[in-house]
Amino acid sequence: MTEPTAEMIQETKLYRSWGLSDQEFQTIANDILDRLPNYTETGLFSVMWSEHCSYKNSKNVLRKFSNKSERVLAGPGEDAGIIDIGDNQAIVFKAESHNHPSAVEPYQGAATGVGGIIRDIFSMGATPIALLNSLKFGDLDDAHTKYLAEEIVSGIGGYGNCIGIPTVGGEIAFQARYKKNPIVNAMCVGLIDHDDVKYGKATGKDNLIVYVGAKTGRDGIHGATFASDEFTDSNNTQRSAVQVGDPFMEKLLMDACIELVHEHSDWIMGIQDMGAAGLVSSTAEMASKAGSGLILELDNVPQRETEMTPYEIMLSESQERMVLCIKPKYRQEIIDFFTDKMLDAVVIGKVTMDGKYKIYQQGKVVCDIPISGLVDDAPEYKHVGIKPDRITDSKEQFKPEIESLEDTWLKILGQPTISSKEYFYKTYDSQIKANTVVKPGSDASVVRVRDTKKAIAMTNDGNSRMVYVDPFIGGQMAVVEAASNLVASGAIPIGITDCLNYGNPEKPEIFWEFEKSVSGMAMASRRLNIPVVSGNVSLYNEFNEIAIYPSPMIGMTGLIEDIDNVVTQGFKDSGDLIYLIGETRNEFNGSEIQQLQMHDVKGSLNKINMDQVESRFNLILKIITNKLINSCHDLSEGGLSVALSEAAFENKLGFQCEVNMPTEYLFSETPARFVVSVSKDNQKEFEDLIGNNGAKIGFVTDDNRMNIKTIDTEATIELDEAISIWKGAISCLMKKN
């Protein structure tokens, strides 16, 4: 095939099908190059200027986030954010979305999402210690959704289990809007010593660019552009844009890169993974960060297929590849080092000082453009948002109807979003590395830091129903909920990574949701001093013009200074006293019970008193460090009824409670509340400390019953029955024809 000439590209407007607008093409031709770009160059601009790589639609909004705190060592702009945890150690973490690939090829889409996020972590020199994921599917009532759920979960497990990093937690939710556009967000957390941190820079004239890892094939070409487009019935089968993962190869690559950084740090100037937009994105960004230029020789790039064009080589998103910038005198050492690890390492170029991105194939220049044009001059769009009609200022709350508390309680426990996700997470190796202290199924997962007293708590959260009904407060709630999870385990929240999943930002209503919810998240994270150090944006999540719920995912990490203080959510001993910390209010909009009874969510959310939230977090942390409680569980979807049940399920202990509130309040979703259990020995000290911030509501029993009394009714449920409904709900739906 002969490639179209520059003139033909201009004439036929071929660039449009690659996602470039006429205006953008003109900018490239007139302002950046002062000539028409050739085929390869047009391709490079189109991926580098895609939303996925350039954040052109979202940059302006993302500036709202604060990435500063006394612990932040590196923030956005690097492969991942870095946060100090003391003793010269730091954690490195990031989350990434793989929604579009997972929609068309669920197993590989999800698997390569995991592979990609792991590379982001070890490319900084860190050792990955944990994986998490946030998944959102359509309702489990049709075969295609079940197929997507089954394959996505097995792709995540297939990659993580093989590479040997524990998948310790996450969240899974179900809602009709995700039917054809599932949300697949993966997060990886790594551990590093301060002095080992490496950045993706191509510095120093005549230093060499080395390609390491798998060969380049034709898979995943234009994956980044594809991720910046919507799905429709006629545009949903771009399987060729999905990559194929090989966790075995990545394991070799990971171990080798970590060893290289530890043992031979002086050989390398920079290291970067090849993710979205493959070779072009990784190398151009390395040069951009260093203010340098690059010469690349494509004939040296290891290729899996024959007759690959420069366009294909540069845009391929073949997995398990890394780029290094090395000192020339270590060339042979580095090649030998990787050969010993069964990996190809090849010199493919060198650093120049002219700021140019020059690519050769068979002696011919196939690309000669300024790096700054490719990376820094991407356009930035400021969209104007319009408030969607559904957003209301009315203070009216949904009023749940509860005829039988037993029935409603059991029904709520059997809702897929509430019920146990064991069916899925049991297929993830959550214990490899033998450091997992709190396993999946808890508020937060906890992984200890070997040879120290420290542990890292982590969670993925984002209740998109709340964001849908009220993006600003829903955004705040996402941060508060994630922080509540960490605090409940005894951790001080120290950092956030996010995945911002939304519909098409060119639609004003979608942009409004995006902007408002980011404002809410930014406000809450600033107020609670939890910086946003990395993240990812996934827009255009639509099918046939119907967008997903605005679905920001907060990936939060927390530090536990003394592992002996880790608290779990389950009741521990019969006779322990149960307290509810935090006031329960008439708040049902966006709740599980509204969804259950109305089959929809609507209404506005009440303002969150952030001062109160902050002081409550401090209180919980204090009662934990004073070792006054035996369990702590935060209240979220389903409210008090679900939190008490889950606390009972873990160790099969019942409870008897009496609350001074109307029955429906058992399902209120007022944020930042906690259920804790306290042994009688600690009662006085505990009550002195909490003052009027909480109230005793009952005690733990061992009679296999959950009993609760409100001001207008009383209900008793057999523990075994509740557990079987809660545990069996998802496997029952998955197996039903």
Binding site: S154, G157, G158, N161, C162, I163, G164, D246, P247, F248, M249, K251, L252, M342, K426, T427, Y428, D429, S430, Q431, I432, K433, A434, N435, T436, V437, K439, R448, R450, I563
Partner: protein, 225 residues
């Protein structure tokens, strides 16, 4: 006592085993590359879990042809303790040091959970610290842990008391709920569950400790004879 942890490309429980030996019984331990051909000076061999060679072809099938294998076989003949866990068990069946094979779990899914195991033989060098019929809590994590052998072999290993661990309930379809078996000579043990992940209460269980203590104690008894 000095342990060798064999590292194949794709092994991923190698470091866990290394720490297990070092931290729980404070013995000497070294990571040994699959290309080595000597294990001189080592008293015991540990073959870790993971996905050697990505489980391509069949789990353990490619590792079975690595240079170190011949040496492991020699160690087996010398009567040295050899323990294969998970992928290590799969490799031991592939190279014929243990009978039977590990197939895909009957439910066709990977499974990770902490399960109850019954100690069926506490007279081995790996289990002497346990009580017969003791129920212990050990994590499993595998996609291909469904132990199979033919009826004649099953009778044989039963008669010879070679079944060392059984799952307390069926988790993956294994014949007779077999979780771990030993060779006739009593020095090669293969098991799917991971005792190296059960050495401290803080990570859920310390029921694996006795296995490492048994190996050390048996060694000391031999040395002191």
């Amino acid at each position: 006592m000095k342990f060798a942890v064999i590292v194949f490309p794709g092994s991923n429980c190698d470091k866990d085993l290394y720490f297990a030996v070092k931290d729980s019984i404070h013995a000497e331990v070294e990571m040994i590359d699959y290309r080595e051909t000597s294990l001189d000076g080592f008293d015991a061999v540990l073959i870790p879990g993971g996905f050697s060679y990505g489980d391509y072809l069949r789990s353990g099938a490619i590792a079975a042809h690595a240079p170190i294998i011949k040496t492991i076989k020699k160690m087996a003949i010398l009567g040295k303790p050899i323990l294969g866990i998970c992928n290590g068990f799969q490799i031991l069946t592939e190279i014929g040091l243990l009978p039977g094979a590990l197939m895909r779990n009957r439910q066709n899914k990977f499974i990770c959970e902490t399960v109850d195991l019954r100690v069926e033989n506490s007279q081995t060098i790996f289990t002497s610290e346990y009580d017969y019929d003791e129920i212990i809590n050990i994590p499993v994590a595998h996609g291909e842990g469904n132990y199979y052998c033919d009826i004649a072999t099953l009778k044989q290993i039963n008669d010879n008391n070679q079944i060392v661990f059984r799952y307390a309930s069926d988790i993956n379809g294994s014949v007779d709920n077999i979780a771990g078996i030993i060779n006739k000579e009593g020095n090669v043990l293969g098991m799917m569950p991971h005792p190296e992940r059960a050495l401290e209460e803080i990570i859920g269980s310390d029921d694996g400790l006795k296995m490492f203590q048994s190996i050390l104690k048996s060694h000391m008894n031999r040395v002191n004879l």
